[in-house]
Amino acid sequence: METSRIPYLGPITAGFPKASEGYEDCPIDLQALLVPQPAATFFFRVVGDDLRADGVPAGAVLVVDRSCRPRRGRLAVVEQDGAFLATRLGDTPRPDAVVGVVTASIVQMGRG
């Protein structure tokens, strides 16, 4: 005769509810702060130290939002002579040359 084992699923436990019941929230999400518009946001790595005074040292990661309007004086990534440049926009930025406006610069300090 064939036999089969029936699994014993274990006892059910119950106890006091957590005191924080109903007060849970999600941990802080950096993405929500830095990337409000994910479909239009791209990251770029910075080469060169020219913009250190603007909070953009070499190696920084720029958050570039293509949905923002490029205005005079904004830091932006533009296309020029076959390369991407991070620079302040002048009076009349060529609209087709502007990739997007820089909305944040991420600088890591290291963990050592």
Binding site: G48, D50, A53, V61, G82, A83, F84, V99
Partner: protein, 436 residues
Amino acid sequence: MLVHVDANNFYASCEKVFDPTLRDRPVVVLSNNDGVVVARSSEAKALNIDMARPYFQIADLLRRYDVRVLSSNYTLYDDMSNRLAAVYRRFTDALEIYSIDECFLSFDHVPPDRLDAEARRLRTTAGRWTGIPVGVGVAATKTLAKLANRLAKKVPANDGVCVLGDAASVRDALGRIELTDLWGVSRGFQCRLRSLGIATPLELAEADSHLVRRRLGVVGQRIALELRGQRCIPMEVIAPDKQTVCCSRSFGTETRRFDDLRQAVCTFASQAMVKLRRQDLAAGAVTVFVDTNIHAPPGVKQYHNARTTGLPTASCDTREIAAAAVRALRRVYRPGYSYKKAGVLLHRLVKRSGVQPNLFDRRDHGRAGRLMATVDRINRRFGRGAVRIAAAVPFGMAPSGLTAGRTVHWRGRCDRRSRCYTTRWDELPICYAKSA
């Protein structure tokens, strides 16, 4: 009204967004394994470079015209496709993702006099936000919207947007195209239409509905009715549950060894399982197929075969699926053949929450599920294949050091693949700091 929106030269356009040296230059993208041309930039089209031509046949021509040749980078295209869909979703929730570069949208909420403006806003927003140029067609039915999009691209004065808002504009549009330009009309179907005396799209739209139904069946009737503005092909707003997930490649070099095939099959199974878990699905059966090189010179022995292995309970565990795939492979493998391609197909897919538990199955599925979730997380963070079953090898962008000196004979060619600019921290596009 319905909208059909698609990206222009999608793969080539994705590459141009992230590589400023490609601006105004002809670009072609090759299929997996660098086999044939699958995408051309507008500059490459202007050079009359054919689609689907094998690369080796046109390599000289491409070099002569200084065409940039790239391997396909599906990681990048997939991300850009998702971004476009997110932009479209700002215009309507009723969105059907038809393919990687095409969507249907409902504009039923847009008043007729606003259609053109709204369609143009869709086009400029998509272009501005993602860098990808798109074409937009608006009409009463899917078939007409697709046709409108064709005219949006073909007629320069339309500037990428075409609205077929009334009977007169539909009539005019139908007069500008061939039968085979219509969605669903193949060459064979065109012949059958001709035999009924229908030679143009306009004649199809105006043909007697019962005659069309009798002689061409439901499919023909559906096309005819859609051309008259009657919706017969519904919007599939929620993507239907996937029926199968497949992963297959041609090998860089052919192989006769079972071990190579086993390694390939285990790797394909692993990749297919990642796709499966991302959609929260489990597979109830695995099919493995192997092919020799169909382009081999006459006289070379050919062999194609496939076998399916079923699982007692639908699974999302790579170890279980890979083991089943290897069992299937043992049954199809024949020594003495030179194999060019293998693949793994997962089917009998079910939602993970809907898996029928087997009363006599004592394995701990919760534990396997947690293990797989952890593996997927690690691989997202450290690169695909950083953690994998021992029988598989890392694929695609994983650092070559991970192969630990083993020669991987079968790995596909992708010599000219661009970086994964939007999905990997170590592959971001670079920009040079320049003070004003």
